[in-house]
């Protein structure tokens, strides 16, 4: 600090310096996040097509949106995908964590193997699974070559089943992460409680169902929040795995928004779908963040 500054000015600078340091980030966030949310919200109320237009036309886009078969398909797919993805990841993650927590030799090798898909891009995951699930080249073909001629697994080409292949690939990518969360939770449980339960004569089953799993409630909540928001944002995986197909059978809100905004020249409808996605995520995240931040002082 310059010694030439008068004492008062120096004191003022000391006061505001921290806020000054924070301000560029705050500016970026306010503009690029909240400003943009407002902008997109506004667009969703206009008659924007290929280019943004600023002529308000009320809630026409929303009415239009809910009349679109594709949007309803996307929502239905999101429901199927979201529920299965969250449920299977949670169950698989919990089971793997409990199994790994049995003083396993080689845990140090197994854990990273379960977890590595999380480091991959969804594009890579999609590419790998697209091929693996391809009836002519992948699993089905392999089974046939191994002599199981009647084996069929052509979900990825089947309009009714394709969405489940997205679930398979997504679970493969994320379940290890959920396992790691549960494992950390298990390791955080007071071992004296476990000993006490054993002294009380609890069987292994009741030890887990009555003592351990109830204590993992916060982990379930965190896992739910993380998985739910990943599910709503899911875009890359579908693009790489099925590209929304066959037909539009694996359309999700994220792919719907992108194609309506940038390829179908229906920007107003695209914006309104984005607003609805934001509303879905906010309804999960805001209460969660609020309670998390409240707990601390």
């Amino acid at each position: 600090m310059q010694p030439s500054l008068p004492g008062k000015a120096q004191a003022t600078l000391r006061e505001v310096l921290p806020r000054l340091v924070l301000s560029p980030s705050l500016f970026l966030i306010l503009l690029f996040v909240y400003g943009f949310i407002i902008y997109t919200g506004y667009l969703s109320l206009t008659d924007s097509r290929m280019l943004p237009s600023y002529d308000l036309e009320g809630f026409g886009n929303y009415a239009n949106l809910w009349g679109q078969r594709n949007w309803l398909v996307a929502l239905q797919n999101l429901a199927i995908f979201g529920i299965l993805y969250i449920a299977i990841c949670s169950v698989l993650g919990l089971v793997l964590a409990i199994l790994l927590d049995q003083k396993i030799r080689g845990e140090g090798i197994l854990r990273p193997i379960y977890l590595y898909p999380m480091a991959l891009s969804f594009i890579v995951t999609g590419t790998a699974w697209k091929w693996f699930l391809d009836p002519g080249l992948g699993l089905e073909n392999t089974m046939h070559l191994w002599g199981w001629e009647s084996f069929t697994f052509n979900w990825i080409k089947d309009r009714d089943m394709a969405i489940y292949t997205v679930v398979i690939a997504a679970v493969w990518q994320s379940s290890g992460f959920v396992m790691a969360m549960f494992l950390a939770g298990l390791r955080g449980i007071d071992s004296e409680i476990m000993k006490a339960a054993q002294m009380d004569g609890a069987s292994r089953w009741s030890l887990y169902t009555r003592i351990v799993i109830p204590q993992l409630r916060p982990v379930f909540l965190s896992a739910f929040v993380v998985l739910a928001h990943l599910a709503i944002k899911a875009y890359d995986l579908v693009i790489a795995l099925t590209n929304g197909g066959p037909g539009r059978a694996t359309e999700l809100p994220a792919t719907f928004m992108y194609s309506y905004t940038f390829t179908r020249n229906q920007m107003g409808v695209g914006a309104s779908s984005a607003v609805i996605m934001l509303a879905m995520i906010a309804s999960i995240i805001v209460p969660y963040l609020y309670s998390e931040l409240r707990e601390r002082r």
């Binding site: 921290p18 049995q102 396993i104 977890l115 999380m118 890579v124 590419t127 790998a128 693009i239 931040l293």
Partner: protein, 292 residues
């Protein structure tokens, strides 16, 4: 992670064996797609078409890798993935550096120089971590155009810095919250001001959280597809977008072995980071998941 803390029940040998069998089966499940990609990336196209995806190559060839790297047709020119690999690096390095540096300073201010309203600011930043990026795509495209960096690597750097800020701030804030306030007071008594307290006292102790943040940001930005697909033009296209173009291009013969080599190339940087410093990778995931 600490060793298992739970008491051991008397367990039969059979149970133990079943346990290991299940665990190994899952390991196979997680490894299989990677194995398939690797094995088939060194086979000839004929062998892939005619053979079993699980079998090891009869003829080992490195040709698909060379193709993927420098000859495969992505768009008009047969350049291979290498220019896009470079694009990704040119994008990731500055984006990670800037967002980490800003996050560190934000975390420092939000924990050690608190002022009225700081919690609201943090809340605003935290929520920004979770927004679906679809909500910002349209205005972002306009703003990038307005400031003249549409379709450039600089534009992507800006985008990734902005939408990474929430996480980097969260990481540093939580780390610095556990850093004793008395040390800051002691530094004040010793005459260190805002910056010297940061550079001399906090930063030297921030090694672990810097590693966590850098890994997190690196992984997320390298793996990003949506922003790359939306805001990059042909000269600034990142690796993930190029890979997707390569794999889903409908012209010509589908060279699966080249696709696999390309996919592994795209995955390689993050996989290497994961293998080298998995512990920090996991810590980042946890910190990103368990807020507050």
């Amino acid at each position: 992670m600490a060793r298992s803390t739970q008491p051991s029940f008397g367990t039969g040998k059979l149970m133990r064996a079943a346990l290991y069998a299940v665990l190994i089966l899952f390991a196979v499940y997680y490894l299989l797609p990677l194995f398939v990609m690797l094995v088939n990336s060194v086979k000839t196209l004929d062998e892939i078409r005619g053979g079993n995806m699980m079998s090891l190559p009869e003829v080992f060839t490195i040709e698909p890798w060379l193709n993927a790297w420098s000859r495969a047709q992505i768009g008009v020119e047969p350049t291979g993935l290498s220019p896009y690999f470079i694009n990704s690096i040119m994008m990731v390095v500055p984006a990670v550096a800037i967002s980490t540096a800003l996050g560190a300073m934000n975390g420092y201010v939000l924990t050690k120089w608190r002022f009225p309203g700081d919690k609201i600011i943090f809340g605003l930043m935290l929520f920004a971590c979770f927004i679906p990026f679809q909500i910002v795509l349209i205005p972002m495209a306009r703003v990038l155009g307005m400031i003249g960096i549409a379709g450039t690597t600089s534009g992507l750097v800006l985008v990734h810095v902005v939408y990474g800020l929430g996480f980097t701030t969260l990481f540093f804030r939580n780390y610095y919250a556990a850093f004793p306030d008395e040390l800051i007071k002691a530094a004040k008594m010793d005459g260190a001001g805002f910056w010297r307290t940061f550079t001399r006292i906090l930063l030297p102790s921030s090694g672990p959280i810097i590693v966590v943040t850098v890994i997190w940001q690196f992984t997320n930005i390298w793996n990003d597809f949506l922003f790359g697909a939306s805001f990059a033009d042909f000269d600034s296209m990142p690796m993930t977008v190029a890979l997707n173009n390569l794999v889903s291009s409908s012209t010509g013969v589908k060279e699966y072995n080249v696709h696999f080599a390309g996919a592994v190339l795209a995955a390689l940087p993050t996989l290497i980071v994961y293998v080298v410093s998995g512990r920090y990778f996991v810590r980042g995931l946890m910190a990103g998941a368990v807020k507050g």
